[in-house]
Point group: C2
Chain length 240, copies 2
């Protein structure tokens, strides 16, 4: 893991860019003497890890005593997009706008992404936990499909917050019942891209004994800021 730049922010949080192999990421760490618990932020939709809402969430958690890491998944942010990626995204957009079924396009596009992203996260996690300023335990926050695979594959993930997962690849729908860690599941009630009933069915399927659903009005990007604060208290209950 190589750090390529760093800056100290107003709230004392240290923000560092890093690369590990071909994966670029950002690490936020609090001003703290003791090793900090870690939150991994996964995202999707072609978003960049420096997208403003993601950065605001990360800085909020870091100011609250967590180390927070975000990476660009394959084909996201700073990483190259293959012609196949571009075609799949264009197909997905067109089908959604036309109101056509998107399951197969979604499956072919997101299925392999999830597998790759989780392999990368596990390598990143090894490197992060080797840093003296990071302790454990580890939480995950973000894209549902990656989070399900990671929670099943990676025993170091102790708790997870999932965001609006209506469309999730078949493999992750099937392994949802194997997820047994405490969960906070955020749902946007009018999410244009994630069918509500599927998200409710997915919440129902998780094997966790402690799972909480928070639903708010509005579309995919309309999650109110108070959910970031509620999420913070969820992680505090389990990671501090």
């Amino acid at each position: 893991m190589q750090f390529t730049s760093e800056q100290r922010l107003d709230d004392g949080v240290l923000e560092r860019e890093f690369t590990l192999g071909e994966v670029p990421g950002t690490l936020w760490t609090p001003e703290s003497a003791a090793p900090a618990p870690l939150i991994l932020i996964g995202h999707n939709g072609g978003l960049h890890r420096r997208e403003s809402r993601l950065v605001a969430r990360a800085r909020h958690s870091a100011a609250n005593g967590y180390a927070v890491a975000a990476i660009d998944h394959p084909g996201h942010g700073d990483r190259p997009r293959s012609a196949t990626d571009e075609q799949a995204r264009a197909d997905l957009r067109r089908a959604m706008q036309a109101g056509e079924p998107v399951d197969e396009i979604f499956e072919s596009f997101v299925g392999p992404l999830v597998e790759k992203a989780v392999l990368e996260w596990r390598t990143i996690l090894d490197a992060l936990l080797a840093l003296p300023e990071i302790g454990g335990p580890v939480g995950y926050s973000g894209m549902t499909a990656v989070g399900i695979r990671l929670a099943v594959a990676e025993p170091r993930i102790a708790v997870a917050g999932f965001f609006a997962g209506g469309y999730v690849p078949r493999a992750q729908r099937e392994e949802a019942r194997q997820v047994t860690i405490p969960l906070l599941f955020l749902l946007q009630w009018d999410d244009e891209g994630n069918p509500r009933q599927r998200a409710l069915d997915l919440f129902d399927a998780f094997g966790s004994k402690e799972k909480t659903l928070h639903a708010n009005l509005g579309g995919h990007v309309g999650t109110p800021w108070f959910e970031v604060e509620d999420g913070g208290r969820f992680y505090d209950r389990h990671l501090k």
Copy 2:
């Protein structure tokens, strides 16, 4: 409104029993010089206003700066139960245990209760707001059906938290869309007495622009304590 007893609790909260006409109630007020915002707690299921979970919620809110009032609805707690009430309760229990439809029994029992309870709450509210230690604004917390009627009929109710309302009388299902204040709607995912889909449909029906659903695993009385704390922050956002 007559106060019949009072005690100062460890956390400085003053707990007073009162009666107004035939309605018995409890009022908790914080140690505070300024008039406190008010939360009304409504409950059902034959519960007493001094039931331990209700009292714990009330004291938590009072310690956090709110005046909190709970009353026994007609046929609840200290109030006499009519033979008709007793019969309806017995019918309801028997039908639920047998897995038979309960809508009509529920309608005949809870429909009139809601009307009476809301008339009483409005009189109590006049009396409470006349006390110098209580200011405004006013929030409601508790039984969904009474809360819907009260939110529609009483313009002084600024915000409401509803609990697990699957079975709600027809009149309140129909007027749900007239509720436009900010809402926090708590759902117990495995609530034996409140069908999940009906509760989700009711959440969908409310006319409020800001409404949040929190769902947790478990039965009717299994709401985790952290929801009381989340609820506290919901009221703080709107009433402080």
